[in-house]
């Protein structure tokens, strides 16, 4: 029975191959043999000239998430001439594999912003895994201090800074979100300036404060935006929800809750002096008032609100213009809608400081709130 012999031989080979499964290969790294980096802070180095100080925030998994009061982290710092080198050196200090795949926040020191930002961010943008998910921000103090801060509201297995920037947690027009890929695009494109949120820590050391932003200028000192300016910018460009606005007119004080903001603009060059026609439409309700309101007067409130807010928008646009920064990307729009030719950008650089802003604000209040 040669057929059976053959079968027996085959099964024997299979059985002999089976123990191979129990052999540990070098590539098999289970999830518990990895340590997840959940934040990277970059400061200028104090020891190395033109170097960087890289801080990694690593999360420690806990067996039973429900039984621990708060999340525990581990921090590692290294100073080196380049970011990649620093991270390679940090790998020698942990027993597990450094897994950057879950890193979604990179904090920069403010001093680094005027440097050649493209070179040291190169390490991150070259990685395929995190460039679409990582948020960029600027630390109010040093990146190391901010990244290693743990706010009181942080619960286990959830990272506070992630919740700020993705839309699963808080949503506020003060919090600006910039992704890594967006940041790189804005840094490298002509006609637009990158804008980053600033992360501060409150005086009691209990919570983050993220309510203003900073606009980068290539190899120059960056320009900070105030809270209100950040709010306006964020709601105009990104339709950030939760925008509220206080109107004071005579003795009437009203707070409007705006839920939808629509903005479009047009660069008009051929009619008189160059100008930008911006049309903003806002929809919302009245959230608070110190007086009895009548629903039939809604149109009147619309008008009052529109006038007030229009002033603020023009103020913001003028401030940006005066500082010669363009986070809205007017210049990019100009470039994109004109035939490419030499000196196009120089042309825009001449036009922008003198351009006029013609803002039409349209406010549509839907109700005076749920109370009559």
């Amino acid at each position: 029975m040669s057929r059976y012999k053959k079968m027996i031989k085959r099964s024997l080979i299979l059985i002999l191959l089976l123990p191979l499964l129990t052999q540990a290969g070098c590539a098999f790294k289970d999830i518990d043999k990895r340590v997840f980096v959940v934040g990277i802070g970059i400061d200028p180095s104090e020891k190395v000239r033109h170097g960087f100080k890289v801080t990694l925030k690593m999360i420690k998994p806990v067996g039973d998430v429900k039984s621990v009061p708060s999340q525990t982290y581990a921090y590692l710092t290294h100073e080196s001439e380049s970011v990649a080198e620093a991270i390679r050196m940090l790998e020698t200090r942990v027993d597990k594999v450094l897994d950057l795949g879950h890193n979604r926040i990179i904090l920069l020191n403010e001093k680094l912003l005027s440097k050649d930002i493209d070179t040291f961010m190169d390490f991150f943008t070259r990685r395929g895994d995190i460039q679409m998910i990582t948020y960029m921000a600027v630390a109010g103090t040093t990146a190391e201090e901010t990244i290693s801060f743990e706010p009181e509201t942080e619960t286990p297995a959830s990272i506070a800074l992630y919740n700020f920037f993705d839309n699963t947690g808080t949503e506020s027009p003060y919090v600006l979100t910039t992704f890594l890929f967006e940041f790189r695009r804005q840094v490298l494109s002509k006609g637009v300036n990158a804008i980053l949120p600033i992360i501060d820590i409150n005086e009691d050391k209990t919570a983050f404060i993220i309510n203003n932003a900073i606009v980068l200028k290539l190899e120059e000192k960056p320009v900070k935006l105030s809270e209100v300016e950040t709010k306006y910018f964020n709601s105009l460009l990104y339709n950030a929800s939760g925008f509220s606005y206080k109107i004071e007119k005579e003795d009437l004080i009203m707070v409007l809750n705006i839920d939808t903001v629509k903005m479009k603009y047009k660069i008009v060059l051929d009619e008189g002096p160059p100008r930008i026609d911006m049309k903003v439409t806002k929809y919302g309700v009245i959230g608070e008032s110190n007086k009895r309101l009548d629903i039939s007067n809604l149109k009147k409130y619309d008008k009052t609100a529109a006038e007030e807010m229009k002033k603020k928008v023009i103020e913001l646009l003028t401030k940006l213009q005066e500082n010669d920064i363009d986070p809205f990307g007017f210049g990019l729009r100009y470039r994109a809608t004109r035939l490419s030719r030499e000196g196009l950008m120089d042309e825009w650089d001449r036009i922008y400081p003198e351009i006029e802003f013609n803002v039409t604000m349209d406010v549509n209040l839907k109700s005076t709130g749920a109370v009559e």
């Binding site: 999830i31 518990d32 990895r34 806990v62 998430v65 795949g101 297995a157």
Partner: protein, 450 residues
């Protein structure tokens, strides 16, 4: 009393059947009239024999009268060749010789002709009764549900030792004649000494030696049979088995339940979608766990990655050993609860499912999430309506697991593409296995293959 001698064939018969004690060879005799009976008493209904043959014989006036009486009996069939005669006698036919004439009467005694309840493919709506173990009763059930002269019933003689009756049933107007020829040829060429059930026969109908996916369907539901008859399929019945074989079939037939036809459209769409999700879950989930925990934890969201990592604290073996270990035990559990008597099987599932699962996590042999995955996989395996496919799926996910353990997410993908390729390469009696029936239900029923 010189009497008449029994015909020569009776001698051959008794030669052939000796030394069985249940052969009866008896002459009937009254006033010079003779008749000879030959039968096996264990398979012949004695009462009917007495009522329809013996009693009339003594009441008849003449031999001729009795002869024409026998001639007109509804259960009389032509006397076939000698070889076939032996088989028929052993199946419960009675041979009668009157003068020079011989007659063959079907007075079979069948004890297993109850109609069974549907066990393998139960539905909430739809018929609750399945077929019977007796082929005549089964044909009766099918005929009673499909009153159409185009319904053809053909008996096939198959060359095996048990000489069971096998019937082909098809709708002569809808079934492809080529297909019928193919099925017949396939049945003729069966190279097996014995087969006992539809499942058995189906196995031998497959041409290749190693097969994982079934290429013909075994079913017990009369409504499914009728549905497939209308669709132009060929049904093979085998005596002694409450199941029939439907051929040819495609992969998607195994994913359909008769219940789909009995619900309102949205509900059945929902259940169909649910079923396909279940199919993919039970094939992919164990491998996905390995791929995600050991190769690409970046795919998971960070909260889940942390929970998985936390759950794996203290687990000594790599993730694929963990999965293999748990899959092995669930397979044992499924197998055990199937083979055990009903009274004991609930204990087995309790001990296995609850106690083993909890204890394994307590002892940190496997992670909590593993238990959830294994439970989800086990449940979703049961969602597949036809049992044969769910057996195949149980094997397949082990293949995928090996691929994934070796090559990670890429391995999972390659393994899955491999499965699709195997399925694409397969055919059921010439019909591509993975053929997608882009046809509405009414078109399918109106389908005319010729």
């Amino acid at each position: 009393m010189t009497g008449q001698q029994a015909p020569a064939i009776f001698e051959d018969l008794s030669e052939q059947f000796k030394p069985s004690d249940d052969i009866i060879q008896t002459p009937l005799q009254i006033k010079g009239q003779y008749a000879f009976l030959f039968y096996l008493k264990s398979v012949v209904d004695g009462n009917t024999l007495q009522q329809t043959v013996i009693k009339p014989f003594f009441e008849m006036a003449s031999e001729e009268g009795f002869e024409s009486y026998i001639q007109s009996l509804p259960n009389r069939i032509e006397v076939p060749s000698k070889e076939k005669l032996f088989i028929l006698i052993s199946a419960g036919f009675v041979l009668i010789a009157i003068g020079d004439q011989t007659f063959l009467l079907d007075i079979r005694l069948v004890k297993d002709n109850e109609i069974q309840d549907t066990i393998m493919e139960p539905t909430i709506h739809g018929p609750q009764k399945a077929l019977s173990e007796d082929i005549e009763v089964s044909i009766n059930i099918i005929r009673q549900r499909y009153h159409n002269p185009s319904l053809k019933v053909e008996d096939i003689m198959v060359d095996d030792l048990s000489n069971r009756a096998i019937s082909l049933i098809y709708d002569g107007e809808r079934a492809n004649p080529e297909m019928i020829k193919k099925v017949k040829k396939q049945l003729k060429n069966l190279n097996t000494p014995l087969f006992q059930s539809a499942g058995d026969l189906q196995h031998f109908l497959n041409n290749s030696k190693f097969t994982l996916f079934p290429t013909s369907m075994v079913t017990e539901r009369p409504d499914r049979i009728v549905y497939n008859l209308v669709g132009g399929k060929v049904i093979i019945l085998i005596d002694g088995s409450p199941n029939v074989i439907i051929a040819p079939v495609i992969f998607f037939d195994f994913m359909s339940s008769m219940e789909d036809n009995y619900h309102v459209s949205i509900v059945s769409l929902f259940t169909i979608v649910l079923r396909y999700i279940g199919l993919f879950t039970c094939i992919l989930l164990p491998s996905m766990y390995v791929a995600m925990t050991s190769y690409n934890p970046d795919i998971l969201r960070v909260e889940l990655a942390l929970t998985v990592a936390g759950g794996r604290i203290g687990v000594p073996y790599p993730s694929f050993v963990e999965v293999l270990f748990m899959l092995f035990f669930t397979e044992l559990l499924t197998e055990a609860s199937m083979r055990l008597p009903k009274a004991v099987s609930s204990t087995a599932t309790t001990v296995g499912g609850l106690i083993l699962g909890t204890a394994a996590t307590e002892a940190a042999l496997v992670s909590n999430i593993m238990i959830i995955i294994i439970a989800a996989v086990a449940i979703s395996t049961f969602v597949i309506p036809i049992n044969e496919l769910s057996f195949a799926v149980r094997v397949i996910r082990l293949f995928l697991l090996v691929y994934t353990a070796l090559f990670g997410m890429v391995g999972l993908l390659i393994g899955f593409i491999g499965i699709v390729m195997v399925l694409t390469n397969k055919d059921s009696l010439g019909v591509p296995y993975l053929q997608i029936p882009w046809m509405g239900k009414s078109d399918e029923l109106r389908m005319d293959n010729r």
